[in-house]
Amino acid sequence: MAKDMTFAFFLGCIMPNRYPQIEKATKFVMDKLGYELLDMERAACCPAPGVFRSFNKVDWMVHAARNISIAEKMDADILTVCNGCFGTLQEVNKRLKEDETLKIKVNEKLRQLGDYEFKGTIDVRHIGEVLGYDIGPWGIEDLIVRKVDIKAAVHYGCHFLKPTKIREIASSEKPTLIEDFIEAFGVKALPFKEQLTCCGAGGGVKAYDGNASMTIFGEKMKNIDEVKPDIILDICPFCHLQFETGQDYLNKNKNCNYDYPVVHLSQLTAYCLGMDEKSIGLEYQMMGKKFEFGGEELTGKEAV
């Protein structure tokens, strides 16, 4: 059993390099909720579940196990805000816990990298699951200092819930945990066509075949545009990146005119828990630079 109210915060690659505001927002939220986030020294790429696993499954597991073993030494569950990192770390953690032979095989290779050993003592958690289930709309109620009146197109992405047999979080066909959670902030989720399909970025598609990636994404944006939300809400920096650069690409190449602000769940939660709007950092993103969350400040509570 890992320590309570403490997480080893796994940053991943995209968030610290492209969207430090998500990192800041996450730390702000977890601090407000009373959690301690620990830095994972020498943590590396998760590595990405699509590309690396396709080439060499065992080596993919070895590298993931290395990251996990760092958190094991800190005696803390891992927290990630990225579906990709979650996909890799959660699956490897579960598989190695359940398969002794595999564990021995991975640990043999792991030893060559230094003083690392996978023991299977911690869990890997995703921010969507921690906020949606552990805290829940009922648990956040008292901490809210701002209620907003916005409509969101919620994008779950793929690796958060699928494969359901391994994740064991919720049905991947009709999940509602993010929608239920953000309702506490006054955000109304708009269901749209094929809401649960891929954003087109994952699995190495964005890097390998940009056209295919944009075809998938173009379809996604068309479906989102039909319901005209105020923001696109995601729970993954890679989806975040796709929604940002993708809208820009469609505007420049496919005669579109999209300007939907892209907001990570951490960013929205941080804003409603009182983080100043500048630090949420929409103005540093590509889309919806001028978007303001607005909403009413609740009396008796102070923003910081």
Binding site: E173, K174, F192, K193, E194, E226
Partner: protein
């Protein structure tokens, strides 16, 4: 009838040896043409056998199963006083019985014959090494001689049977079995859980491959059974307990009250006046019924029935009934039945697809996703829509219908690996019917493999293709709903052209699997019969005995043994009836007393043998000692290895007898604990 039952030996279990009679063994090695002699040197084997202790004669012969071969045995018994025979030829299953019967004709107990298999176990598997094969044959024969030395006589007993049968389940299988047995002059008790008989077949619109009206096909049988002088019909009834064994069972049934007396004229005034409206189970929710109702117009018995759970006790029905048939004071009653055979025909249940998330069956917004059985109820002659296909969401005629095959079948995710085997046929049927009714509509069937084997079915499949039904090879990944328009589409890859498709669907029909009915477990335990891992009741032998259960005297009819179509069910049920009737018509059961004996000096009363006994033939007596029910025992021997002290020993399979047999094969290298 020839009297074949021997009751010669009164002190069973004693071998002639113990009685002082010296074993005189005859050994006969068969050439089986070249089958054995081509590999094994049969003459050497016979010569070797002739030198073994107690062997008075050893011969080899071309075909032991031929008339002159059999004559060798007869002559030896007559002329040389042979009292145990060993034939080294093929397997016991193949000709063991032939030789046993021969020695029986000569006045020996048939259990004194020992079969040795030197064909399947020797010549056929060692074709290339003649010498070693011959050596092995010698060892096998020596083992057989050793085994023969201590063989004991086994008595065959006649057990009188109760001339009556119980049939559980009043669907097509139960009706067929009931009628067939009643026609043989056997009184039959038919117990049905629901308020009417007829089962699933009465719910169908048409039957494949002739598109006949199922009501017309089944109603002569339902009427025939209900009016048969030898049939006693209990509806709303369930089996409460089962006691006894093959030939003589005592069954207790519980009958729930109908709350309507038999003087009901079926006028329907009560139902018309009933203020309650709930979904009709018989109609699979495609219509409603009152709290007092008749499942369907042709229902048998035609007496109305009150559903106490949904009734609001307003007493309107009591007041409107012109013959005062409605009576709320009726009580449940139990009945004890004595029967000789039991036929289980509890049928199947349609798989509930709500478990498969991606198809959203039963979820809000997905009202237009229905099952094939529901479609049958929409199409049926007594349907609420007047047989018009109107989709549940808005009552419009669907322009695009997509049928999805293998919903709950061939699906390891939901735990059903098996193919139901009839869904391709009924989907082909219903798609063809829809295409005929609505030629402008597009009807598609998404399948993994089309499986329409058997006479007339390829033509049936082709016929649907020619009518314009679109067959798409691919298992749909999901049913999507546009949250704005509410329209459904089915996502599937046409794997023949490798094209991802999005099929517009005004109505989606799921071809759901046939699964074992709910609540079948307790009935299985009461009957003490085994189930297959899929949950159906397990047959005794898949090829040779598909209607016998694991327990003697209990037979399986129809889909309770596994998915079947109506033709197969009827044939299966007819066979179950024939088997169940045999001991009842004959009046007795012949039972070989090849049963275990218990040495109570060694027995510790631990009960391990009871746990190991599949047919539940061993039980504790009132003194706490295990006793063997000689009628129920199936001579499987499972109790022997379970016994920690060796107290329980199966006749002719005793530890010392088996040890004698093993020693020559192992070269004497046996480590014995004793």
């Amino acid at each position: 009838m020839t009297e074949k039952v021997k009751t010669k030996s009164t002190d069973i279990g004693k071998s002639p040896e113990e009685e002082g009679e010296e074993p005189r063994i005859g050994v006969y090695v068969c050439h089986c043409g070249h089958n054995i002699a081509g590999t094994v040197d049969v003459e050497k084997v016979a010569e070797y056998a002739s030198k073994l202790p107690n062997v008075v004669e050893a011969k080899d012969y071309m075909f032991m199963c031929s008339k002159p071969g059999v004559q060798l045995l007869k002559d030896a018994i007559k002329e040389k006083g042979v009292n145990k025979t060993v034939v080294a030829s093929c397997s016991k299953n193949q000709h063991g019985r032939t030789f046993a019967r021969t020695i029986e004709e000569m006045g020996l107990n048939k259990h004194l014959h020992q079969q040795v298999n030197i064909r399947e176990f020797c010549s056929w598997v060692h074709k290339k090494d003649h010498e070693k094969a011959t050596e092995k044959a010698k060892k096998l024969v020596e083992a057989g001689v050793n085994r023969a030395r201590k063989l004991e006589e086994v008595e065959t007993k006649k057990i009188p049977t109760t001339k009556a049968a119980l049939v559980i389940g009043g669907g097509i299988a139960g009706l067929r079995s009931t009628f067939d047995m009643a026609e043989l002059g056997i009184p039959v008790y038919l117990v049905e859980r629901n308020s009417t008989i007829g089962g699933h077949m009465t719910r169908l619109n048409k039957t494949f491959p002739t598109n006949e009206c199922p009501q017309c096909s089944i109603s002569p049988l339902t009427n025939g059974v209900a009016n048969h002088p030898l049939v006693e019909l209990y509806t709303n009834a369930q089996v409460k307990s089962v006691d006894g064994t093959m030939g003589n069972f005592e069954v207790e049934i519980e009958i729930s009250p109908r709350y309507v007396k038999d003087n009901c004229t079926s006028c329907g005034e009560c139902a018309a006046a009933c203020p309650v409206e709930v979904p009709s189970e018989w109609d699979k929710g495609m219509s409603t019924r009152g709290a007092i109702y008749k499942a369907y117009p042709q229902a048998i018995p035609a007496t109305y029935v009150r559903d106490k759970k949904t009734c609001i006790n307003c007493n309107t029905c009591i007041n409107v009934c012109p013959v005062q048939a409605v009576d709320f004071s009726m009580e449940p009653e139990t009945k004890k039945l004595k029967v000789g055979s039991i036929v289980v025909a509890t049928g199947y249940e349609e798989y509930d697809p709500s478990e498969i998330d991606a198809y959203h069956y039963g979820q809000e917004g997905y009202e237009n996703v229905i099952t094939q059985l529901q479609l049958e109820r929409i199409l049926g002659p007594t349907s609420m829509t007047g047989s018009e296909v109107l989709r549940p969401s808005d009552g419009k005629i669907p322009k695009h219908v997509v049928m999805i095959q293998c919903v709950g079948s061939r699906n390891e995710q939901v735990g059903n690996k098996y193919c139901t085997g009839v869904c391709c046929k009924f989907a082909t049927k219903n798609s063809g019917i829809l295409k005929e009714m609505y030629p402008d509509s597009e009807i598609s069937i998404c399948y993994i493999d089309m499986r329409t084997p058997g006479l007339n079915f390829e033509e049936y499949y082709k016929d649907a293709q020619e009518k314009g039904v679109r067959f798409i090879r691919g298992r749909p990944s999901e049913i999507l709903r546009d949250p704005i328009s509410g329209e459904l589409s089915v996502i599937v890859e046409d794997t023949l052209s490798q094209t991802p498709l999005r099929l517009k669907a005004d109505l989606v029909v799921l071809s759901a699997a046939m699964i074992p009915p709910q609540g079948i477990g307790p009935l299985g335990s009461k009957l003490q019969i085994l189930r297959s891992k899929e949950g159906f009741f397990k047959e005794f032998h898949i090829k040779m005995n598909p209607t016998a259960s694991s327990k003697g005297g209990v037979y399986l009819a129809g889909t309770i043994q596994g998915p079947k179509d109506i033709s197969e069910t009827v044939a299966h049920a007819g066979n179950a009836a024939a088997l169940a009737a045999q001991p009842l018509v004959k009046g007795y059961i012949e039972k070989e007393m090849l049963i275990p004996t218990i040495d109570y000096d060694l027995c510790m009363d631990c009960g391990m043998c009871i746990t190991a006994c599949n047919p539940a033939a061993i039980s504790m007596n009132e003194k706490g000692h295990p006793i063997v029910n000689e009628v129920a025992c199936r001579s499987c021997g499972m109790c022997m290895p379970a016994c920690p002290t060796g107290a329980i020993q199966l006749l002719n399979f005793r530890d010392d007898q088996l040890l004698d047999e093993i020693v020559p094969i192992s070269g004497g290298g046996i480590v014995c604990n004793e």
